[in-house]
Amino acid sequence: MRISTNTLYDSNINSMNQQQTNLLHTQLQVSTGLRVMTPADDPAAAAQVIEVSQSNAANTQYATNRNAATTALSMSEGVLQSVTTLIQNIQTTAVNAGDGTLNNSDRQTLATTLQGQLNQLISLANSKDGTGNYLFSGLQGSTQPFVTTASGVQYQGDSGQHLIQVSSSEQMPVNATGSDLFMNVKNGNGSFATAASSTNTGSGIIGQGGLDTPPPTAAQRGNSYTLTFNVSGGVTTYSVSGTDPSGAALPATSLPLPNQPYTSGQSISFNGVQFNIQGAPASGDTFTIVPSANVSLFQTIQNLITTLNTPITAGNPASSAAFTQQLNLASGNLNQGLNQVLTVRAAIGSNLNTLTALQSAGSALGLQYQTTLSQLQDLDYTKALSQLSQQQLGLQAAMQSFKTVSGLSLFNYM
């Protein structure tokens, strides 16, 4: 084929241009470290990079969120640890108060100690976090959760949960609400509460009791019972009456037969409830068994203080029995209160454990995203550098050969 002189030059220039473009591209890749510098370099990878880096950013955000959650949970846990110790101290005080050698003024001293401990508990329950929000007021961060009023300590917060997104699929509550911690404490044994009538004259004391085997049926649950004693001819008997949740009297057919013989300390059980009564109840004395209701921990302590401040009349068995009865009730309620706090602490602990587990899973995922991102857009240096030197060589060869070829001319020989 005929070659025009212009073609000789033009095609060489085109080829060198092309090689220089490629060389520059490789050089830019090497200097940025990126294989995909603009979406056109690899449109599919560029799109994936956006999605993966979005996921990676979200994953990083979850890690930040987990730190926030850990801080919040640890803060609550710290306060609740103090609350636990405090409740245990109060329990010790309550046990001390049962010491038969104490006189009225000793008990009043204990009452003063308890009052101090109650104040301490209220102040712990009103703790704030690092940013000035109350820890245990639900979602009402700036509302003081526990306020002492004439009718006792009232809860002003709500039961709202502050959720934090700790992983792509899990939202974790990071607050414990005051209602769960201190207010929703079941009294008695958690199923039912026993009490002696304040007008009792005998020395009978009813125990906390517990659920019998089998437990109450669905129809029996929620029933309240009253035991009325009768002493006639030196024989003490009791009869049981009861009402259902709506207040209607239970028929005799669903109650024990009247005039059951009484033996002090012997277990009494019917309709799935079981308890004992000790001492010598007088004729007409009554004891009640009602379903557990919520009594706040503060109310329990306040009641205990009132009990300790109430003098025991020497030689009056009823007075002494009433004291023991109240003390039993208080220690049962304190136990329930402690359990409540421990349950919440267990939940916090388990959440903290979950966070630790999620943290390592999150790190692994982050590493995975980084690897994917790197695979998608980063440069294989070995390949790129060998490509660079190859392209350099190609360009040099083109230049050299161009010089040689363009130097050939017939005119040189004329």
Binding site: A46, I50, Q140, A293
Partner: protein, 839 residues
Amino acid sequence: MADLSSIGISALNAAQAGLLTTEHNIANASTPGFSRQQTVQSANTPLLTGSGFMGQGVNVTTVTRLYNQFLNTQLLQQQAQSSQLNTYYTQIQQINNVIADPTAGISPSLQNFFSAVSGVANNPSSAAARQTMLSSAQSLASSFQSLNQLFTSMNTSVNGQIGSSVNNINSYAQQIATLNQNITVASAGGNGQPPNDLLDQRDQLVAQLNKEIKATVIKQSDGSYNVYVGNGQSLVVGNQAFTLQTVTSSADPTKVDVAYSSGGKVVPIQQGSLQGGNLGGLLAFRDQSLTSTQNALGELATGIAATFNAQNGLGQDLNGAMGGTFFNIGAPVVNSNSNNTGTAVVTASISNAAALTGSDYTLTYNSANAQPYTLTRLSDNTVTTYASLPQTVDGITLSISTTPSSGDSFLIRPTANGAQGLSVAITDPSKIAAAVPVISNGSLNNIGSGTISAASVVDTPYASLTGSATTAALAAGQLTLNGHGVGASAAGSAPGQSADSAYAIAQAINAITASSGVTATANVNTVSGSATAGSPASWTSGIAANSFTINGINVGAIAAGINAAGEGTNVAAAINAISAQTGVTASANASTGALTLTAADGRNIAIAQASGYTTLSSDTGLAPGTTNATLTLSTTGTAGIVVAGTAPGNAGLTAGTTPSTQQPPVNANLQQPVTITFNNPPTTFTISGTGTGLPATLAYTPGASISYNGWTVQISGSPSANDVFTVKANNNASADGNNALLMAGLQTQNTMLGGSVTYAGAFAQLVSQVGSQTNQLQITSQAQTNMVNQTTQAQQSISGVNLDEEAANLMKYQQAYQAAGKAIQTANTLFSTLLTMLN
């Protein structure tokens, strides 16, 4: 001897012509468009002598240029295509280089923004966290704006480049016309000898013209070129040139169009017909890439703003007020065509961001048509016609101020302004609606173990409609919902659930809910009897058993009543006695005795008298006959509800469209206090409080959703009798970031492009689209350039000058010249010899 020297002289002349041509070739070796020339020489007519024909020397018949018409035409076409691709590539590369900027682009701004939203969710009472969220929202908005700014300035630049390309075209056309004239004159004056260099110049101009626009050349018999562009608009005819010019587009004032100027009139050209060359590349880039990329970016901005606003609107701000608009959304652009004769103004508003398509639309009005409004979606040229406006299509609601003149048209660009118009609507950090507006609480006095979940604000249906009573059984195809055919309705197993009942038709509709997105509810069927007038016989003698039937079941004997109220009560009791079979319950008005029959599941209520009994109406106030219930359709889809089919009336529906609303208004009673009280036994509960449609008593299912007043809660566990749960306004909730949590969740939710991808996914699609287009253009323009180079080589191999060849020719003609000289010398010597002999 004379012959001898004249042959020598002819040879001398021929060699000289050859030398001249060779030198001309050498001189023009680098002249663009030059074709090498050759002398064509031939032997002179021989002289017949007695000894035969004697040669008479040589003469040069012409000088030709070496030129291949076929290759040249091929080269022109390839050059036009190559210029178009190169220009397109150069332009789109600018978008490609910035769109996926990993440090300052949309993608990192989006990540920063959601990180800040999470910050508010984690610490909702922190003013600093809220301020950070506002600032990062602003920087998100400005990253959209700055990318959009690039598109706007590229549009301006493209307009300018179109202008200069048009100027070049006009200049080339003028020069070609002038050369046409010169060539015609030269050819005529030169006895048909070709004016080679003028021809080369003209071909070169045609080649340059093709770099600007694809031009068709037709050679005329007089040697002149006629040049046509576009759809056959003549640019050059003989020695006359016509001009193109740029005009502001009548449809869109931000664009320039290319128009044809003829006889003082400006005639618009269909822009799509201007192919090839720089101009073709610019127009293709603007219409195929720039506009659609800008629209897609706007669609993304609008989508983000709309979904975020919707979630913010469901929340409550730090001041206790319901959330408002968080982002301002760029309003759709509507341009009235500058040629419109009417005064109508079209307004477009975004009703549903998720349904947007990113396309532009043209609305035209032609009063001659039964449906005079024609809407064309420009991305795929889908045409829809309407009898009237307003209409909602693809998430856009179009309305018009008055009836336009026939032939008026409007360009609607729903998302063109989306990126530019994105801005943060609030400046007060406390206005971020981070909290959920309602809170659920269990009473502190609750005895049972029941717990209530956090209240969540629910979406109300995006569209709903209630039809009239059903009239007939539905056959397959008689009703289509959103384009999906509803199958035939089948009778249920109980009396009254016949195939024409709302109950049966609702079941048929719900069978295809998965595809249509539409849910049907058969409404409660109610028949109201009238109060009985006078003192019918039934008051004294009652009604005999089996006198009438309800849904085909005989009603038992009815005792006499002392008056209307007493008789009504007796009839109701008799009907209720068989309600387990009929599904129909009855109640009587306490004073008038008027009966109300109710079928809760929407089945038919058929009342029929037994033969021989004709006084049902006067006895009970009930009229014999069958009453069908109505249906309510609802959807949470973005398509709304489109009812069609051959007989939608069977289901009590009329054909038509109920559009979907993007952000349904929040229930007015949302924050009203509502109390849920468990009854004794706690298997049911009672809902009381302020609100519409609060039912009195409901059965308790642990974990089931309880939804009223726009919120939903679940109660689980074992509540005891008299336990109370409340749902009320979330007051003082400074530490509530649960709505911010939902906002942060939007980052990973598929809300874009009809609910198929996340924000980042939608952006990734845009990036990959731009990337692929650029990548493809890079490859095709390179391939086309290579093709042009190949063809140029082929063309040059014929027409190009090879200096070595010319050097050889130089030597050849030099030697020929020398030889001719020698021949003349020889002739001279011979002549001298003869003279010497004569002396």
